[in-house]
């Protein structure tokens, strides 16, 4: 009886110990920084050091601009919400102001798409056809980029 319980306890300890040790050693590191994402891209697309250096350079160059644009887009969404709230509460719309807003947002969207397209195109040019195909599958959600990219 005692021996059976001892063996069961040893088995439990061995199982849990090996599980925790293996998981801790192989646990994938998670990071949402640009460096972390580029490192993930390097692994996922099997980029060479030279390709990785070029792609990193491209992303680092465009990163501040894209972040600023993302902040502007968020600001425009807030402004749009404000327009909508004003229309519902007062039942009035300042059409001149709204037209100005629509124009700014249209220009911003165009600038965002251009920036993203340039970055994806420049990155895809560095890659081999197989890598490019995999990369395009990855950015397929960022339409309408795919249609403008070479195969």
């Amino acid at each position: 009886m005692k021996r059976l319980l001892l063996t069961l306890a040893l088995g439990l300890i061995a199982g849990i110990g090996s599980h925790l040790a293996y998981y801790r050693f192989h646990e994938p590191a998670g990071t949402d920084t640009l460096e972390g994402q580029l490192a993930w891209m390097k692994t996922e697309l099997k980029l060479t050091d030279r390709q990785f250096a070029r792609i990193k350079e491209l992303h680092q160059a465009s990163h501040p601009k894209l972040r600023a644009m993302a902040a502007q887009v968020a600001q425009m969404q807030l402004e749009f919400g404000e327009f909508e709230r004003s229309r519902r509460t007062t039942d009035q719309v300042d059409f001149l102001e709204f037209a100005r807003f629509v124009e700014i947002r249209r220009n911003l969207n165009r600038a965002c798409l251009d920036s993203t397209r340039q970055l994806v195109l420049a990155s895809a040019e560095v890659m081999t056809p197989d890598q490019r195909q995999q990369y395009l599958a990855l950015v397929a959600n960022a339409e309408p980029l795919v249609g403008s990219l070479p195969n």
Binding site: G11, E27, D32, W40, C112
Partner: protein, 132 residues
């Protein structure tokens, strides 16, 4: 003249000194054992009755108890016990590998989403608002 002292011992032709040996203390069982002179005859079919009682005892044993006892028998063997512990360790490794794969898939999907958000500022906007 009567000898009232301790009985004397004599040894003739030998060197044994019986006087050195003390008489054993009397046991209360001795008289009873002395009276047990006749061994009774065993009842007929003694062996058959014994085996029948053993068989009845085994049948009336609880199945769970039997299973537990056989488990104990298996674990009493060192080879089996060692194998069990090693198997537990391998099972832990296997489950850890499954867990790592699962976490890796989730992390990859999360990094892909983060990357798309990074390169496409319009991804957070509703689809209708994305056209320039």
């Amino acid at each position: 003249m009567k000898d009232l002292g301790r009985p004397r011992c004599y040894a003739s032709g030998h060197n044994f000194n019986f006087c050195a040996m003390k008489p054993p203390p009397t046991d209360p069982l001795d008289p009873l054992l002395d009276r047990w002179s006749e061994v009774p005859e065993p009842p007929p079919r003694l062996a058959a009755n014994v085996w029948q009682r053993i068989a009845t005892g085994e049948k009336s044993r609880d199945p769970a108890t039997g299973w537990w006892l056989s488990l104990q028998d298996w674990f009493a063997r060192p080879v089996f016990a060692t194998g069990f512990v090693v198997a537990c360790a391998f099972l832990g490794l296997f489950l850890a590998e499954l867990r790592v794969s699962h976490v890796q898939r989730e992390r990859s999907a999360q990094l892909a989403r983060s990357y798309l958000l990074l390169i496409d500022p319009l991804l957070n906007t509703p689809p209708a608002d994305r056209k320039p």
